[in-house]
């Protein structure tokens, strides 16, 4: 376990992010034109990367089951549409989701550690995590303590991630940085490295509960971090932008960025996920447009 001073020295020793340059590069990568067969491939890849998410206070077991049915077969009219990457729910609904997805090969991700605020005693956060894992979650999405991070108490953030990592057991750990609350790109880079050093399997942009959620420049900085982290340590960490990704166009921009910044190694659901709920319908609509040649409409797809 590093000391607080070591961590601080390391994180503040990371090169700063050129904000204007990062925005510019992200915008330029977003301007690529992906058409016809490449677009068809990108859409299928994006579908297989979707973490189909429902994180509402009003979630019911029925809604989660409906979501799981959609995860297995997103478009009943097109049986060749790939299944999604995972289903993401609150810890108390993990059991329902695991039950509904039995034998489908789709994992259940659960948010934990007092999502979305993360303002709870460490013991409560760990109990939350253990309960989700015990219920069968194969991936845990934890939130970092943004308060401690912004106050400069990196050691506390680090220790919480390490403890949660231990509580996860075999389950994958995704660490949500909540970049919308970190203020600067430098902080995003530091938080990414902090999470990866502490043992994260994935770093995730946002909870989706505050705005701004995932943006292209922030995701680019995180992709640079996982690339550099692999060069430095040999360990490969995944990235998951979440929140605010609603259209196929947006999703394809992210895929282009993954390929250009981190490299084609990351173009797999094992290392890149899109946290979204309404995105899936837009992907399916575009898929049907490519297959049938006519524009489709939201009336022809399920709501959740």
């Amino acid at each position: 376990m590093p000391t607080g001073a070591e961590l601080r020295a390391f994180l503040h020793g990371l090169p700063g992010v050129d904000q204007v340059g990062a925005d510019e590069r992200a915008a330029r990568l977003g301007a690529r034109s992906i058409k016809t067969t490449a677009k068809a491939r990108a859409i299928d890849l994006a579908i297989s990367m979707v973490d189909l998410t429902t994180l509402e206070g009003a979630d019911t077991a029925g809604k989660v089951r409906a979501l799981c049915a959609k995860a297995v077969r997103p478009d009943p009219a097109q049986p060749d549409a790939p299944k999604v990457g995972a289903v993401c729910v609150y810890p108390d609904l993990v059991e329902v989701a695991v039950d509904a997805l039995q034998g489908s090969g789709i994992g259940v991700a659960s948010v934990a550690t007092a999502f979305p605020a993360g303002r709870a005693p460490l013991e409560a956060k760990l109990a939350d995590t253990r309960a989700a894992v015990a219920a069968g979650a194969s991936e845990i999405d934890m939130v970092i303590d943004r308060g401690a991070f912004l106050a400069g108490d990196y050691l506390k953030v680090h220790e919480e991630i390490v403890e949660t990592r231990r509580a996860c057991g075999d389950a994958h750990l995704k660490v949500i940085l909540e970049t919308g609350e970190l203020r600067t790109y430098d902080n995003v880079r530091r938080a990414s490295w902090l999470a990866m050093r502490a043992g994260a399997d994935f770093i995730k942009t946002s909870t989706g509960k505050i705005s701004p959620a995932a943006t292209l420049p922030v995701t680019m900085i995180m992709l640079e971090a996982v690339r550099d982290f692999r060069d430095a340590t040999g360990r490969t960490v995944g990235v998951k932008p979440a929140g605010g990704i609603r259209t196929t166009k947006d999703a394809i921009k992210y895929l282009v960025m993954v390929n250009e910044v981190a490299g084609p190694d990351w173009l797999t659901p094992d290392l890149f996920r899109l946290g979204a709920s309404s995105l899936l319908n837009d992907l399916l609509m575009q898929r049907r447009k490519l297959a049938t040649g006519v524009y489709s409409g939201p009336d022809h797809f399920t709501l959740d």
Partner: protein
């Protein structure tokens, strides 16, 4: 003093309450009746159709749930704005070849037509709906409801024809994607400017200029369009468009005889209405 340079208007599309250029960046030349250059109009592409349908769908919920009275008031407001643009419309119709008196008469007729339809907003329910006699202890009420997004291929009649197809579609609560007259698109864009400045929510009417033959098939086949008015489509193109429209069971209004000055009747309104029937128990 130096001679003043004229400020010429850029004719653009009208989508979702904004005036964008065509996504394709194309335009086409519009000539006056004598073949002289008049203006460049945007030449919309299928992606503009797609965007317009999205805008119309977005506007449908709000527009259809307004009270008919409120819709009527907004349409009256549009008529007031039309009145204020009278000279501009007359000039545009004259450039299209109409004589001065004929152009003036057409503008009058168009405004009167708009007012006539505006008056129907809170009356069509009484005419197209009914309290049905049933053999049981129920109130049985049929009420007309808007179909949704209506695609309209406007006729060549640049102003009166356009007004006569747009007003009946929206007065009942539908939203519209309109492909303007191909040879005479300028009055349509001026009408869009009127709509944009008269309390009509953005997206209720979306106006595209361009090639009918290019745009109509996309509108007819679009799965999120609920009805299509083929007023401006040539006889030979109708069959194919009807076939395309059948895929999601669109309501189709075939082209009529094309005399736009005749008494319109309620047909154009009822063509884009559906009937909802409610059974309500009596005495409970």
């Amino acid at each position: 003093m130096s001679e003043r340079l004229s400020v010429r208007k850029t004719y653009k599309l009208y989508i979702g309450g904004a005036f964008p250029r065509s996504e394709s960046g194309r335009s086409y030349v519009v000539n006056d009746a004598k073949g002289r250059f008049l203006a460049n109009a945007s030449q919309a592409s299928r992606k503009d159709v797609r965007d317009a349908v999205v805008a119309a769908r977005k506007a449908f919920g709000g527009w259809s749930s307004r009270t008919p009275y409120n819709r009527g008031q907004i349409l009256y407001r549009v008529a007031e704005m039309l009145e204020g643009r009278r000279t501009q419309f007359v000039d545009e119709l004259r450039a299209g070849g109409a004589a001065k008196t004929a152009a003036s008469a057409e503008v009058d007729a168009a405004i009167d037509r708009w007012v006539w339809y505006a008056g129907w907003a809170d009356k069509i329910g009484a005419v197209a709906g009914n309290a049905n006699p049933v053999a049981g202890p129920f109130f049985n009420l049929s009420t007309p409801e808007p179909s949704g997004v209506v695609g309209i291929v406007a006729p060549d009649s640049a102003l009166l024809g356009l007004v006569s197809v747009v007003a009946p579609a929206i007065v009942t609560g539908n939203t519209a994607v309109v492909v303007a007259s191909e040879p005479a698109p300028l009055p349509a864009i001026t009408l869009a400017e009127v709509l944009a400045t008269s309390d009509l929510p953005g997206g209720v009417v979306n106006l595209l200029t361009g090639r009918r033959a290019e745009l109509a098939p996309w509108l007819a086949s679009h799965m999120d369009v609920n009805a299509i008015d083929l007023a401006g489509v040539s006889e030979e193109a109708v069959t194919d468009l009807e076939k395309a429209a059948a895929d999601n069971l669109k309501r189709v209004l075939r082209p009529g005889i094309g005399d736009w000055s005749a008494e319109p009747g309620t047909d154009r309104m009822t063509a884009f209405l559906e009937t909802k029937t409610v059974w309500h128990p009596v005495g409970v």
